[in-house]
Amino acid sequence: MLKQIEGSKAVAEAVSLCRPEVICAYPISPQTHIVEALGEMVKSGRLAPCEYINVESEFAAMSVSIGASAAGARAYTATASQGLLFMTEAVYNASGLGLPIVMTVANRAIGAPINIWNDHSDSLSQRDSGWMQLFAENNQEAVDLHIQAFRLAEELSMPIMVCMDGYILTHAFERVDIPVQEQVDAYLPSFEPRQVLDPSEPISIGAMVGPEAFMEVKYLAHAKQLQAIERIPQLASEFRNIFGRDSGGLVRTYRADDAETMVVAMGSVIGTIKDTVDEMRDEGHRIGVLTIVSYRPFPLEQVRGALLHCRRFLVLEKSLAVGMGGILATDVRMAVTGAGLKGYTAIAGLGGRPIFKSQLHQLFRQAEKDELPPVTFLDLDRDAVNRQLERERQTRRSGPVAENMLHDKGIVSAKFG
């Protein structure tokens, strides 16, 4: 049913349709509206049987999810930013134990400086945690990916993060087709755990493993993600058969035929990129888009296949490997090793910095002319950076960087409105 609905509410509806049995979460912006809505559904009895567990921290949220999943329940939680960092030890345990928890990450920057707005630093910091990570382009896809995520996670008995841009998607009202229960039931069978803590048949989960078997257990997690590369397109295809629309998959291309320049990105910025590319195509530019839906597993072959025909690619990412450059770009470059393509990285939108079409037009044109350095920082205020560097050269006690930057920019406190 078509609804004009907030992204968070739409995701809560989707999660509810997946019949989770245990939900626990600790509120953190911009994820809060999702679990608030689910809490109301449990309290009103609309979502039943389901236990909503209030916890005292994100560490507890993931720990309770682990316990619930090990007891055979379909478990769901959501978090963002520092919340994800705070639960990190348990995040690794969930995947290491092979528990198919689904977690929404409402992508948000990581402090310091404290910042509640969107970028991809949080979930990308968990790149090697063993969790799969799927990125939504819009709120329809955020809804659809959650349904696919429960299916995939439980088939493989491995956890998944469904990543959606904080505020930009979570707080956006737009048209979303909310599936009906019969469709979701037809797609998502009930959870049949591979391992379950059952007092009548006692087992232990979580043995200590020494050098004699640790590598094998870790390799099996890797093997599961390689299986996911096979299953994700199949599950997207089955999804289309039941729900009648394309959602998910490993990667998607847009106007890529005959493109000499390909822009590679993840998440909601894809919409702004597509509009920019349409305008450039109208002017005769041969430019296309590669959307990465599945960041983990990373579909090396599919990315390579999508880029091999072009001359150059530009990875636009909302994340920064400090001291190196791009995070996503590293993987994309790995995918096209030896193909002789020119590759550029643009770091953009950190901490919620808006990304405008006008900026993308300029950036893409520079890429087309091969005028970009290997790594570019979109909309970076070089003057402000240089003022601080100069201050540090002049004065030993140059003071706190964040405060200096706000002062230099004439901002009393973080920008509102």
């Binding site: 509640i116 737009e174 405008f356 079409k357 006008s358 409105g417």
Partner: protein, 188 residues
Amino acid sequence: MFQIRVHGRGGQGVVTAAEMLSIAAFEEGRHAQAFPSFGSERTGAPVVAFCRISDREIRSREPIVEADAVIIQDPTLLHQVPVFAGLKPDGYVLINSQHKIGELGIDEFAASRRVERFCSLPATELGVRHIGRPIPNMPLLAGFAALSGVIRLESVISAINSRFKGQVASGNISAAEEAYRLVKEASC
């Protein structure tokens, strides 16, 4: 694509106004996208929210730079925040004020524009009278419907009914109806 910015202060319901506008457009079978500015709301601080309306899927996520209309919930922002930045030459302006447009100190700006597309509306007073609270949102949306014709009054009323119930709904509807009439009849 029709792009609207709503300017107000935290607590006035700026974000709600943009959301309700998107619901009204959705009621007409159109695509609509509403989203808050990239900032936290604080009571009293200047806040902006955005709404796009289109007959096709809306993909862009950039904040609205070139607006077809601005709705200003608090006239004290007129000389504080660049509310008219990027407003298209033939853009619409709706200001919540008891004063006429000519009394708001924006003559210089309005002179280069289509003044018939500028209008003021005592939306806060309508809110107090019909809803019992100084909430200007729904009268402003109805006023916007009357001024621009981009959405219908009936769609605003449907949006109100989808969000509110009982006296709150009926109060908002009567405030919206009066606002619509005032703007239609006014020589702003």
